[in-house]
């Protein structure tokens, strides 16, 4: 199982992608629990705000697109963890 976080937009318009192979993580059961507990089907469309980031989060079969202003709670926690694994902290 793989989770991919892609961030686009922002003032710079530079796209950055982070991904994690969940099965290779020492705490994979915690990852699986977190991913299954995300409100994948409860994301509503929101009006874009100029220069804010846009996050696309994929974990088959799920995919959501979130404006930066929608990223909080469990989504923020997921993004922070995925970035943390990629950035080595």
């Amino acid at each position: 199982m793989k989770v991919v976080v892609s961030r686009s937009g922002g003032f710079a318009g530079i796209r950055t992608t982070w991904e994690v192979q969940v099965d290779e993580q020492p705490d994979r059961s915690t990852w699986a629990e977190m991913l299954s507990g995300l409100p994948w089907d409860e994301v509503s469309e929101t009006a874009p705000q100029p220069d804010r980031y846009v996050y696309r989060i994929r974990c088959a079969p799920h995919e959501v697109v979130l404006g930066e202003q929608q990223v909080h709670g469990p989504w923020q926690e997921l993004i922070d963890r995925v970035r943390g694994v990629n950035e080595g902290h």
């Binding site: 892609s6 686009s8 937009g9 922002g10 003032f11 710079a12 318009g13 530079i14 796209r15 009006a47 874009p48 705000q49 100029p50 220069d51 804010r52 980031y53 846009v54 696309r56 697109v65 930066e68 202003q69 909080h72 709670g73 923020q76």
Partner: protein, 394 residues
């Protein structure tokens, strides 16, 4: 609750100004309440009334020259800079208002000066009184988040991160960024272009254009002397790049082994279809950016005086649809040039040539000739006129 369902304006349990304040809260713990407040506001009150509630006029004593019911003094600069203190909560702590002395924080001082320079361009060059043309207070928040590599416009204020120090410096360090963000406010109050796809890329391009013009006017640079860069100095010296974008040569602002190459196309042949970035609004904006650069440099002199005026006329014409595409926007600039300078004028021809060079001249040239013929009394009643001097929605 005894009120009807059609609005708190008649049954005000929560006053509008409190709803506005709540709707602007950016604290995750209050996300549900903020969203509910936004829904209430959008359902019940026109946006301009909300802004009036959010920004009530200060007492007359605080506005020199205003007495009692006298009309406010147009063109009066009013700024407010707040400090988020490294948190992602808005608006943060108010640290400077008009009339207060400069402090020691460079981010506050840069934002303060940048707001002034941007206000000066719109007022002195285009006679627009702040972003709403009614003297709205220009509000900015600095030190947003930790290592935050971004600046944005949230519909109410400009917000600036400090950068991470490795790739990005603080975002207030470039005047073009401040001008860019404030122009999003002007666009919101005028054409209100939808922030996705081609209309979103035009929205972005207008912010780059006027952001660049703010800097050019501040430095006293002619079109020929200007660098036409957006975000010059934002990258640290560890990045191989001079800026985030170039209006002169989109796609050449940076080429770094970590960040990659500046992906902006310079013409329609390079147009990028993507679902990211709200449909590539920061990518395809390179196309109208270059068109403006070509128009401005063809006309020479100060870019804000002629080319900038045509673009400003277009933005404020009232004829742009919210989802206007590149071709529609090009036609609108052509009409604006005709309205101000006449069909077949040097300015009109420069606009046509600029759009033609980026692959968007279709119909504009033929329209120019047809309209010139009509203006000269040699056209036919049945001739097609692509450049319509009569404003119509795009």
């Amino acid at each position: 609750m005894t009120g009807s369902s059609d609005g708190f304006s008649r049954c005000t349990i929560v006053p509008p100004y409190l709803l506005v304040r709540l709707a602007r809260v950016d604290d995750p713990r209050l996300a549900a309440a903020a969203e509910a407040a936004r829904r209430s506001l959008m359902r019940d009150v026109p946006i301009r009334e909300l802004r009036a509630a959010a920004h009530p006029s200060p007492p007359s004593a605080a506005r020199p020259g205003v007495r009692g019911g006298a009309p406010p003094v147009r063109g009066r600069l009013d700024r407010a800079v707040s400090d988020a203190g490294g948190l992602e909560r808005l608006p943060g702590r108010l640290v400077r208002r008009e009339g207060q002395p400069e402090g020691a924080d460079p981010a506050v001082n840069e934002a303060w000066a940048g707001l002034g320079d941007t206000h000066s361009l719109f007022w002195n060059a285009f006679e627009r009184d702040s972003i709403d043309d009614r003297g709205l207070t220009l509000e900015a928040t600095v030190h947003y988040g930790r290592n935050y590599d971004n600046a944005f416009w949230d519909g109410e204020r400009m917000v600036f991160g400090d950068g991470d120090g490795q790739v990005f410096n603080r975002f207030t360090s470039s005047l073009t960024v401040i001008g860019h963000e404030l122009t999003h406010g002007v666009t919101q109050f005028t054409a209100n272009l939808a922030y996705e796809g081609q209309s979103g890329a035009i929205n972005e391009s207008l912010s780059d254009v006027f952001g660049s013009l703010v800097e050019q006017r501040s430095l006293g640079q002619s079109a020929a002397e200007a660098g036409w860069l957006i975000g010059e100095g934002l990258f640290t010296d560890q990045v191989q790049g001079v800026a985030l974008r170039s209006l002169k040569a989109p796609g050449t602002a940076y080429n770094d082994d970590v960040l990659g190459k500046d992906p902006q196309p310079a013409d329609m042949a390079g147009y990028i279809e993507t679902e990211d970035d709200n449909g590539g609004v920061h990518l395809n904006s390179g196309i109208p950016n270059r068109a403006f650069y070509l128009v401005a440099t063809a006309l020479g002199g100060n870019a804000w005086e002629t080319a900038g005026q045509i673009w400003f006329d277009t933005l404020t014409s009232g004829t742009l649809g919210r989802t206007v595409d590149f071709a529609g926007f090009a036609r609108a600039t052509s009409r604006a040039a005709v309205t101000r300078h006449g069909a077949g004028s040097r300015e009109h021809e420069a606009v046509i040539a600029g759009w033609s060079a980026v692959g968007l001249g279709g119909g504009l040239g033929a329209g120019s000739r047809a309209w010139s013929d009509i203006a000269a009394g040699t056209g036919t009643a049945s001739g097609h006129v692509a450049v319509d001097p009569v404003p119509r929605p795009e």
